[in-house]
Amino acid sequence: MKIFLKIVFFCILAFSGFVGFANFGIPQVKPAPPPTEEKLDLGNMTMDQFIALGDKIFNGKGTCTLCHNNVGKRAPMLDGAGEEAVANNALLRLKDPRYKGKATTPEEYIRESMKTPSAFVVAGFGSDNDTKSPMPVITQGSIGLSDAEVDAVIAFLLNKAGVEVTVKIPVGAPPSEKAEEAKPAEPAKTPEEVIAKFGCGACHKIGKEEGALGPDLTRVGKSKNEPYLRRAILDPNADIAKNCPGGPCAPGMMPPDFGAKMTGSEFEMLVQYLVKSK
């Protein structure tokens, strides 16, 4: 019996060591919750908002940066500066003898790359002598972007390259099949979830988000009081902030319907979070 107890104690000690290290020895990265299908209110969207939506999809739901980043270098950069911007390389690639697609403009090239990735494979990034792309078709499978979301990403990439944003905001675009079947989003339980759910980080620097279109909100509680912050969410055009990264903010940039979209508890959580962001 003594041996039995000794071994039980030894096993418990070993397991405690493993679970202790897993909990306290390594960082607890909280994975993003499963993506929810959002109904896009395209009719009320400005081009800046559409581009911001593309930014959010590019860095979030689209999972583009999993491969298109400067760390792993598993896929060519798309949103960098100069030659690293896909829109700046598009015309050159369209003239490449290896190009097998039908696009004629940067906009069409980017769309084609997302829907038919092997139409052109950048040298060194494909298999079978760079004829087969490892990229998934992003309108299918686990990513499954809708056409409007694809357009938003294209708008973001064109804007990032500093070229003319030729893509048009789809007007009255039918929601994707998946959006129709999606259940209503669950109410957020934490301020971070509210921020993620309503995409605040697409424009604002807030929490872990690094949006660069709207004012930085990481210390907003220091300079703005609670009534101001409530008003800023419910009626964003009542006070136009002057501290957007590029200078004074443009009126009408922030969607005016967050008050209608948020639940009462979500709104309160967000306000209190901003008040405490000092």
Binding site: C11, I26, P31, G141, S142
Partner: protein, 613 residues
Amino acid sequence: MSFFSGFKRLTCLTLLLTVLFAGGFTFTSLPVFANTANPEEAVKSEGTTTEAVKEGEKKVEYPPAPKLTVADYPQIGSFNPRILVWIVAQLHLWFAAFVLAVPIFVLIIEALGMATKDQRYDNMAYEFIKVSMAAYSITAIIGGLLTFSLLVFYPDLFKYMASLFSRSMLAYAFLFFAESASLYIYYYGWHWLEGGFKKWVHLTIGLVLNFVGTVLMLLANAWVSFSMSPNGVDPATGAFLGSEWNVIHNFLWNPLNLHRVIANIAYGGSIIGAYAAYKFLGSSSKEDKAHYDWMGYTANVIAVGGLLPLPFAGYWLTKEIYAYSQQMGITLMGGVFAWLFIMQAVLIGALFLSVNYYLWCGMERSEGSVRYTKNIKWIAAAVVACFLVWFTPHTLVLTNQELKALGGPYHKYLGPLGIMPAKNTAVNIMIILTFLSFTLYRRANKIATVSWAAAGSAVQAAIFAGAIANIIFLGVFYGYFTNTAYKVAASIPQVSTTAVVIIFTLIIDSMMFKGAKDVAPLKWGNVPGRSQYALFTLAVSFTWLMGLMGYIRSGIRQHWHVNSIMRDNSINAFTPTIGYAAQVVTLAAVIFMAIVIFIFWLSNISAKKSAAH
């Protein structure tokens, strides 16, 4: 001959016929998988697929994969079905791995005993299979519980999977009977089928047992790998395309099969090793201590034999995951799961260190080991250094201030050690050093009598040194002086180098120590008690590691029941944090080890009672 003896023969004959019948059923049913429609010929029609059929035959229509809502997942109070299924599935896997692996090496040991005419091998093989018998019924019980849990809490998923794997699930049920029958004949007929031709019959039954067990595992693997890399269904709707063979033969099936077979052997060895350690610690007589020391040593050799090629099988599986879906591969190695590999490094480090420590302690069995013990500290230091390289993360999670102070997310000196070429280099060297420990252990009690012994040892030393230098060169050159696309190109020549060391050392050893003299008789049982805890560390670490890697394999599907085909829309579809996952794995591992130790304890009191009688 008594009536009872005749009855036993009749029973065994009946069971044997059952095995043959079930095996025959499987063989005749397997081709059915392949003779259905070609996926390309299948016609899609409004969310359903229609199997291409000959004119005049009835068309078979297959429904799409169901699209579920929260309401489709039965909820019983605040009970968490995901954790229940997770734990039950993991327990089933642990026990199944054990009971599938043990007959493999039992058969080999039994054959070895027959070839060498050494009864000790036969006795040990019998004791191994005896330990697995209790585990076998527990595996079946937990398997039933798993099916029940899936039916209750994930009925639509189960229904969809059953619709795709209908024939193979039926074959699985028949094969389960066949395995039970062959196992019972193999175990209960051990002493009945002794000597001469009867022994051959017994070995054949063992072969049938292993064949059936392996086919069972391959079928179960198909269900699991399908959920990661679905095949044979319409990628847009998930509707079956008509060929069950295509569904089974999905992209990740074979890599998973190889990985599991090797891991099962290593795991089975480690659990048997723990059993031997338990018995050793509880033994008071010299004879018993010697027996269980030998048994523990053999089990450790089996575990190490599986452990050494395991990283390469894992590497192939990961490579194929990348090839199937780069997105899934990066989620695994560079995304939210990446930090779990630091945990994996800790566990594999624990495995290698405990294996080496056990071998070093085992040198006390031989008086000749003093020639080598002074070198052990250098091997220990090198193994720890390799472990630390494996343990080093690439990207650090930092605050903005820390990021500024460091000048980026990577440490200047340690950052380069975080990438795969460094880790591949470390693991290959660690394997070579472990093999070196094993080689020193094996020759500790021998004195070579051939004239070229000194030259042979020098050649072996040169092979070890040259191989380590080559592995480091390949890792550094490809890892740091080539483009990203070639960074892991060193892995194949590195593995080949390791294989060369093992093969050539064994060949030279076998020639050099032919007819060698023993320094003194080996003193089995003359090992410190702490060495037995190294065997326990092996079993415990293996158990936890399998739980963790099982979670990773399953978790990289994220919010999909079947990757990109059938979405998990339950409230538990989230990917948990590492801490959360570790807690669930630990809970499952504690339950498993409690049952295992309980089985050991039961066998102990049963043995005491038998001895008293």
